[in-house]
């Protein structure tokens, strides 16, 4: 298994820079998930690592060796594509064995490797079938099997679950996590789905507009988002980001008021009293109770929890997650209070965490 260093990598198409200088260190056996909205450059970054796109600037280093100009097949990398990219005219066995055939691997050794991958992925009975005779999940497994037989140093996944339905996606997510444990491989995984990022990653890289917004462990990012973008992107339902004013400060703590929602927030950088800031508070960290009055506009009852979509007196939107089933008063009136120590404060200008 291998470690990887991405040093100031950029990708330019004409005058447009899709990736604008990214640094990431990926340790051996680490599962890194690159996450971000559409067009943030995550797939371009993955394709540069794979060698399918040239690197305009910066260095890609795998196990101490610069890989910028090395052919895709010689980088020790295998990639699982979003569309699976299985050869439609080849059987499962031929799909998985194609790389071995190209590499002129002796037949018995190739057969052994295919059998081993098929065993890991439970593909044994499907080896003679064509891709069109498989379900979406089975095709996905074949695509992974094709990667496994090459015994790569690094696995790359480009939104591999986005073509699957919700239940299959959950199952494949669990299988991928198991696979990572079993293979002990270095994996780089691109997705726009923050649930995949939170559940699979050892380390999450949040990208926006071709730049890294934050790198960290999933819960670290959840607990301490570096800015309002990351705060809004990681977590479901997304964090409430409210315009607020600082009303008081003591050492390491600021009291803010967002249209009646008053909150004490621990901060590293103390804002001045009266400053306009952004108060971040997740829907699951608000509770019904004596506090700020809000007006519920709509609600979703999911059984276990109820989401209330409300407005503060000044019109700002606020999502509240309440345990169990809730009925609201006919006039939609509700008072909410934040759980202590769970709110975040961001600069009103730069959006950076205070």
């Amino acid at each position: 298994m291998a470690y990887m260093q991405i040093k100031g990598i950029a990708k330019r198409y004409g005058t447009y820079e899709a990736v604008r200088g990214i640094d990431i260190d990926i340790a051996e056996r680490e599962f890194v998930v690159i996450v971000g909205p559409s067009g943030c450059g995550k797939s371009t970054l993955l394709r540069m690592i794979a060698g399918l796109e040239t690197i305009s600037r910066g260095d890609l280093v795998i196990d101490g060796q610069r890989m910028n100009d090395v052919r895709p097949a010689d980088r020790g990398i295998a990639m699982v594509f979003q569309s699976y990219a299985l050869y439609p005219h080849k059987t499962v066995e031929q799909n998985m064995g194609f790389a071995l055939k190209v590499a002129k691997t002796p037949k018995d050794e190739a057969a052994r490797k295919i059998a081993r991958a098929a065993e890991i992925l439970q593909l044994g009975p499907l080896l003679k079938r064509l891709p069109k005779e498989l379900s979406g999940g089975q095709r996905q497994r074949v695509a992974i099997g094709r990667a496994i037989v090459r015994n790569p140093k690094v696995f790359l996944f480009d939104e591999p679950l986005s073509n699957l339905d919700a239940s299959l996606r959950l199952q494949m997510r669990i299988e991928l996590a198991q696979l990572h444990r079993e293979l002990q491989a270095t994996m780089v995984y691109v997705t726009h789905d923050q649930i995949e990022a939170m559940t699979l990653a050892d380390k999450i890289v949040v990208l926006r507009d071709g730049l890294v917004e934050q790198i960290g462990a999933p819960l670290e990012i959840y607990r301490r988002p570096a800015n309002t973008f990351v705060a809004g992107f990681i977590g479901s339902p997304k964090m409430n980001l409210l315009k607020a004013r600082v009303t008081a400060t003591v050492a390491g703590q600021a009291r803010v008021d967002a249209a009646g929602l008053v909150c004490d927030v621990a901060v590293d950088h103390l804002p001045v009293i009266g400053a306009e800031v952004t108060l971040g508070i997740r829907p699951e960290h608000l509770a019904a109770g004596p506090g700020a009055p809000v007006q519920v506009q709509a609600s979703e009852r999911l059984g276990g929890v109820t989401y209330a979509y409300a407005r503060l007196p000044d019109g700002q939107s606020l999502t509240v997650q309440l345990d169990g089933e809730h009925d609201f008063a006919a006039d939609g009136g509700l008072t909410v209070q934040p759980q202590p120590g769970r709110a975040h404060l961001f600069s009103g200008d730069s959006g950076l965490r205070l």
């Binding site: 295998a78 990219a85 194609f98 190209v102 590499a103 094709r146 090459r150």
Partner: protein
């Protein structure tokens, strides 16, 4: 009232449609039936009852025609058609692959240039081509027919195959690159097998064109040993003006191979014409 008139209208429409298509079918098929029926008659029978069935089926007309030289013309046509189709498909497929998957300077201009060949009528180039054939020593050889046929067939065949290849996901090539395959291998092991349907269609379209080609065959060859059926049956007609039954048998023999190929592969033919129209 309205509800009842709708089915009536639909039936009338259907009858009209059938009538039109049946008329078209009869117009197309009848000459062929006429040809095959008269191929079994003597000249007297034919003039006595042009539209009737033969009183006696004269199978020997076919063997007479065959021995008269039609066999040689058929063989020549077969050689010219097969060679042309093979060379044309090979070149067009490689050109289409390059145009679809590779990035190179002036790609669009090169494609336009290739397509531009399709608007050049063969007649325009007859005299210069004749000079070229004469000076290169290709005149009166198979190559005098194969090379121009390939050249004039390439634009449309390349267009057809390129359109089909654009429908093959680019990720397949990328997956093959990751698997270590080079372009030649990707072309051979990924794209060619996937292009089989369009290769069959393009091959059939090209074969029909070359089999029926007349102008080059008339201009670039003169020897009986190289003449193809289109020119062969012409001299056949002159020689056999008195024996219409044998002449018809010769004509029937000359269209039989391509007709049989078309009937066997008509599904591919239609598929090829419509492929790329809707993605």
């Amino acid at each position: 009232m309205a509800a009842r008139s709708f089915p009536a209208l639909a039936v009338a429409n259907r009858i009209l449609l059938w009538a039109v298509f049946l008329t078209l079918a009869v117009v197309c098929i009848y000459p062929m039936i006429w040809l095959f029926l008269n191929a079994f008659k003597t000249t007297n029978d034919m003039f006595a009852a042009t539209w009737g069935l033969p009183k006696v089926w004269h199978w020997e007309n076919f063997s007479t025609a065959w021995n008269y030289g039609i066999s040689r013309y058929l063989l020549n046509s077969l050689i010219v058609t097969t060679s042309t189709v093979l060379i044309e498909l090979t070149l067009a497929t490689m050109a289409a692959y390059a145009l679809v998957v590779m990035d190179f300077r002036a790609k669009a201009a090169i494609y336009t240039l290739i397509l531009g060949g399709a608007i050049l009528p063969p007649e325009v180039s007859l005299i210069p081509l004749f000079r070229v054939m004469a000076e290169t020593g290709l005149y009166n050889t198979y190559f005098a027919l194969i090379l121009p046929n390939v050249a004039f067939g390439l634009p449309f065949t390349t267009f057809l195959i390129r359109a089909y290849m654009t429908g093959i996901p680019g990720e397949l090539r990328e997956a093959a690159l990751m698997d270590g395959a080079g372009e030649a291998r990707i072309f051979r092991e990924v794209y060619l097998p996937l292009c089989r349907p369009i290769l069959a269609s393009a091959g059939l379209i090209s074969a029909m064109r070359v089999w029926n080609e007349f102008i080059f065959a008339l201009t670039f060859v003169e020897s009986e040993t190289v003449k193809t059926v289109t020119i062969g049956v012409m001299s056949f007609a002159v020689a056999l003006r008195a024996d219409w039954g044998v002449l018809m048998a010769g004509l029937a023999l000359s269209i039989l191979p391509i007709l049989a190929t078309f009937l066997v592969m008509q599904r591919q033919f239609v598929g090829g014409l419509t492929s790329g129209a809707v993605k």
